[in-house]
């Protein structure tokens, strides 16, 4: 399996998606935490 330019682009995109998933989950966590502390 050769490691082409396409692979590099794909790998970068894959890691970018992982970072985006983390950011999305952290946003959810912040909202849930703020609501939980406010309500309880």
């Amino acid at each position: 399996m050769a490691f082409s330019r396409k692979d590099v682009d794909g790998a970068l995109k894959g890691i970018a998606i992982e970072v985006l998933v983390l950011v999305g989950l952290v946003v959810v966590a912040v909202i849930v935490s703020a609501l939980a502390l406010w309500l309880l």
Binding site: M1, L22, L25, V32, S33, L37
Partner: protein, 497 residues
């Protein structure tokens, strides 16, 4: 009537096993090099011993190699189940000779915890362990996460390797050939290693004030434990040691990458659309949010963290670590033991469910959870609709598939076996006098290859519990089938005709 295996069957198994041991021995060159570079002569000697035994095993397996090396399904299952006992036994040698373990059983416990990517440890005085042995502990997690036998497959072509691939708990092939799939898995891991270790090194030097060597040492170890959802760290305080939000964020990205199935990595790398439609992706996002909400509300209700920043940071990281099956902690064991009520429920559920199928994490796995829920919904719909109504029983997972009764039964059987394994460990813990909540936490953590602990796992733990947890880690990582097949194989050898 059981058919007794003949000598040719045994020679096939020993040959394949020898190849696997040989590759693991070759992996020992990494810590050996590290030991020589650091002038850790005692550790270097133990690595030479381990590599020597592996070479000997490889040589013997070549000498007795049968002409027909094709592995039937039963051979493959037996090879994998045995490999996951023999490899930790071999890997335990340098651990035991480090002098940081109370007994060979303790060293085997940590080696099994390593290869099964669990992360529980009974080591003594971890903070003074030599660097090279520490690297070996983490390398065991990397090997286990990649799949020990899969690692060997990449280097040795053999007929019948498909059975080995499935026996290690991998459900899908990304490419038509298992070897190409194995190579893609190594490619994904290699790219993440390059990126992850580089970022860790930068953080070590730029934000933590470490020198280059210390940054490299921590970067390599934490990468191997994070991407392969293992959870070992080079120090006893786990990830809390670094007190660094950027280190935690980098680790979180790697934990997510590790819990993602390699087929999803493939979709992302090849820019294929539709990954959000996959049942498994939807399931893991849903269960993560549910466990996060439960855990966060529980922590807020207990009043353990009183501001949004600390509640988010502690709650989110621990839940993510539990759900991905990694086991890193940014709170102490005693703090974790004080998480009661909904916080405990959230953590327990996250650990029990685990990551995606064909990823490096353990637990029931999201695909099984999704299919189980789907089967229940279909059954309820079938019961509510008129008798002649046709209920479409399909699901989307890299294309549309039929949810057959056979598939539903197989999924539920494995899920039930996991629940049974969780309960057996809990019962034994309670029998030894541990509080039921703590016993359940530790049992789920061991069976689902997580590695978080509320303090039960220690060198002083009863021997029977150590043996039981070794069994839980082995069974949980192999997802039962290969282990049961080995039992069947041995039974047919003893009582077969």
């Amino acid at each position: 009537m059981l058919l007794k295996p003949n000598k040719a069957d045994l020679r096939r198994i020993v040959y394949a096993l020898g190849r696997v041991v040989f590759v693991v021995g070759a992996a020992g060159l990494l810590p050996l090099t590290w030991a020589l570079a650091r002038q850790e002569w005692q550790s270097a000697t133990s690595f030479v011993l381990m590599i020597g035994i592996a070479l000997l095993a490889g040589a013997i397996s070549t000498l007795i190699a049968p002409k027909d090396r094709t592995l039937a399904w039963s051979h493959g299952m037996a090879v994998v189940a045995l490999a996951w006992i023999v490899v930790p036994a071999l890997g335990a040698l340098p651990l035991y000779f480090s002098g940081h373990y109370g007994s060979p059983l303790d060293a085997f416990f940590d080696a099994m915890s390593g290869v099964s990517t669990t992360g529980l440890s009974v080591i003594q005085d971890l903070d003074h362990l030599s660097d090279s042995v520490n690297v070996w502990r983490h390398a065991l997690q990397f090997l286990g996460g990649q799949g020990i036998v899969l690692a060997a497959l990449t280097f040795f072509a053999a007929s019948g390797i498909l059975s080995l691939y499935f026996a290690e708990g991998r459900d899908d092939r990304i490419f038509p050939s298992v070897k190409s799939t194995a190579r893609f898995i190594w490619l994904v891991s290699g790219v993440h290693a390059l990126a992850g270790i580089s970022v860790y090194m930068f953080e070590g030097v730029a934000t933590l004030g470490y020198g280059w060597y210390r940054s490299l040492f921590h970067g390599v170890n934490i990468f191997m434990a994070a991407f392969d959802t293992g959870g070992f760290t080079p120090q006893s305080t786990s990830l809390a040691y670094y007190h660094s939000i950027t280190y935690e964020a980098t680790t979180a990205v790697l934990m997510i990458a590790g819990a993602v199935s390699f087929s999803l990595h493939y979709m992302w790398w090849r820019r294929e659309k539709g990954s959000l439609k996959n049942l498994e992706v939807r399931t893991i996002l849903t269960t993560f949010v549910i466990t996060l909400v439960a855990g966060t509300i529980g922590l807020a209700a207990q009043g353990l963290y009183t501001d949004t920043a600390s509640l988010t940071r502690r709650g989110f990281f621990q839940i993510l670590s539990a759900h991905t099956g990694t086991g890193f902690a940014t709170v102490s064991n005693s703090d974790l033991a004080s998480w009661k009520g909904l916080a405990f429920v959230g953590m327990g559920m996250a650990m029990a469910l685990g990551g995606m199928a064909s990823s490096t994490s353990g637990g029931v796995k999201s695909l099984r959870v999704g299919l189980t829920v789907r089967a229940i919904i279909d059954s309820v719909r079938g019961a509510l609709l008129p008798e002649n109504a046709i209920v479409s029983k399909t699901y989307i997972q890299n294309g549309r598939h039929r949810l057959t009764a056979q598939l539903a039964q197989s999924v539920m059987t494995i899920s039930l076996l996991y629940v049974g394994l969780y309960l057996v460990g809990t019962a034994v813990g309670v029998a030894y006098g541990y509080p039921i909540q703590d016993a359940m936490f530790e049992s789920v953590s061991a069976s689902a290859a997580v590695g978080l602990s509320v303090g039960i796992t220690s060198p002083a733990m009863p021997v029977l519990m150590k043996v039981l947890m070794i069994g839980q880690m082995w069974l949980g990582r192999l997802e039962f089938i290969a282990a049961f097949s080995l039992v069947g194989f041995v039974a047919s050898w003893v009582v077969g005709e």
